[in-house]
Symmetry: none
Subunit: 229 residues, 2 copies
DNA sequence: TATATATTTGAAAAACCTTTGATCATGTAA
DNA sequence: TTACATGATCAAAGGTTTTTCAAATATATA
């Protein structure tokens, strides 16, 4: 496999250096830009596999860059990881709503960044085939875009966590997903809570989709995690 | 699950005692060292699940220890939490640059340390990417991703131990695996139980896969262990 | 700010899995 | 063939994980 190409955009030069050095050590081909304008101009000319983008930039900020990228057909699916100096949850949601695939708050460990890049790249690679319409299982239809779950036409309201949980399970249909995996994917790396939290949300979900012996959607794999067939 | 093994390295003895006591209360198996040299020597001999490492150490300091650990292939992914006396942000980034997964500045609450340890361990455990396709032998098909064993289409439910056992045997097809090897691999280093435990699980497995004279999957090699052809 | 809603935590019950010890069976060496 | 060592079998005890419920926090909404 050839090296993945990464573009890093940040206005702090030493951060750029730090990330660049570490990513290169890990076999990535790294390019850097310091402003949103430069970033957009660069992406018009060259293609990259993944973009690491600081939220706070002089001139056009990260969110705006994100939006513009998502509005270009050829860049719609470019994986983007957003860097944010503030740790607020609001930032996260905001970033993700504007089309980022993941986010990290500074300061962060470069190892973590690499782990997340791998995860995002893996997802974007495997999702190519899965973008065929809404996710469905049995009499359940999950419309990811509208955040709506239908059970035989009846609309079921899901909370964000429930939605993400169901979506993740459906996107990985058949695979057993560990609680740790789900926590990382849905709750984020910086989550320090208990793994039992997952159980409770699974329970809510099961209740909402009216799971019973006849319609056993979410399977518990003891000692391993959960899966949907 | 067996206890997670933690190595704590700090030159202040009372800090070591404090952390050790609290972690043991919380079900960890704790080892301690007072210098970087001792730490590295120990890691050459024994394996641990996570390392809690003070930045300031007599002789080789924490950063150097970190670097050396990261340069060893078998320790590249060992989760490391760095302890630092100074609270400066620069120190943090510095520490992380050298490969720590998280950091804490002293003084800290042991509760928080445990929370962070959990998070770091979770992250390292969530990178589940066994790209192994289904393993097959005769009319048995083991799908590791979905934790499913099929016998001519019929799904057989396996417990974790049975699944691991079958998986390990299949991954080492043809090789005889000793009970001790299996115990290390599946039950973990910290397991002190009897080797006969393996027999019992093999027995369950045999029962579940309906082994008989015509389909002798798991072979007993007297005096050596088990194997699958 | 109050109210509603969502999320997390804690603790007990239930379900299930693992280990142990006793006993039996079988293979191996003398 | 016998004695010994190793492996198989079983069921009860013991342990762990998961579920469930309820209460406490946190967050969003009006």
């Amino acid at each position: 496999m050839s090296k993945d190409r990464v573009l890093i955009v940040d206005d702090e030069e030493h951060i750029l250096e730090l990330i660049k050095f570490n990513l290169e050590q890990n076999g990535y081909q790294v390019m850097t830009k310091e402003t949103g304008e430069e970033c957009l101009a660069f992406l018009d000319q060259e293609s990259v596999d993944i973009l690491v983008l600081d939220l706070m930039l002089p001139g056009i900020d990260g969110i705006e860059v994100c939006k513009q990228i998502r509005s270009k057909p050829n860049l719609k699916t470019l994986p983007i990881i957003m860097l944010t100096a503030k740790g607020e949850e609001t930032d996260r949601i905001l970033g993700l709503e504007f089309g980022a695939d993941d986010y990290m708050s500074k300061p962060f460990s470069v190892r973590e960044l690499i782990a997340r890049m791998k995860a995002v790249l893996r997802r974007s690679g495997s999702q190519q085939q899965q973008l065929t319409g809404p996710l469905q299982v049995g009499d359940l239809i999950l419309d990811v875009e509208s955040h709506e779950l239908r059970l035989n036409g009846e609309v079921i309201k899901l909370t964000i966590k429930e939605h993400e949980l169901l979506k993740t399970l459906l996107e990985n249909r058949g695979k057993v997903l560990s609680r740790n995996f789900l926590l990382d994917k849905i709750w984020g790396y910086a989550y320090y809570g208990d793994t039992r939290t997952v159980d409770v949300h699974i329970r809510q979900l099961r209740k909402k989709i009216k799971e019973d012996e006849n319609r056993p959607y979410i399977e518990t794999i003891r000692g391993a995690g959960y899966k949907i067939k």
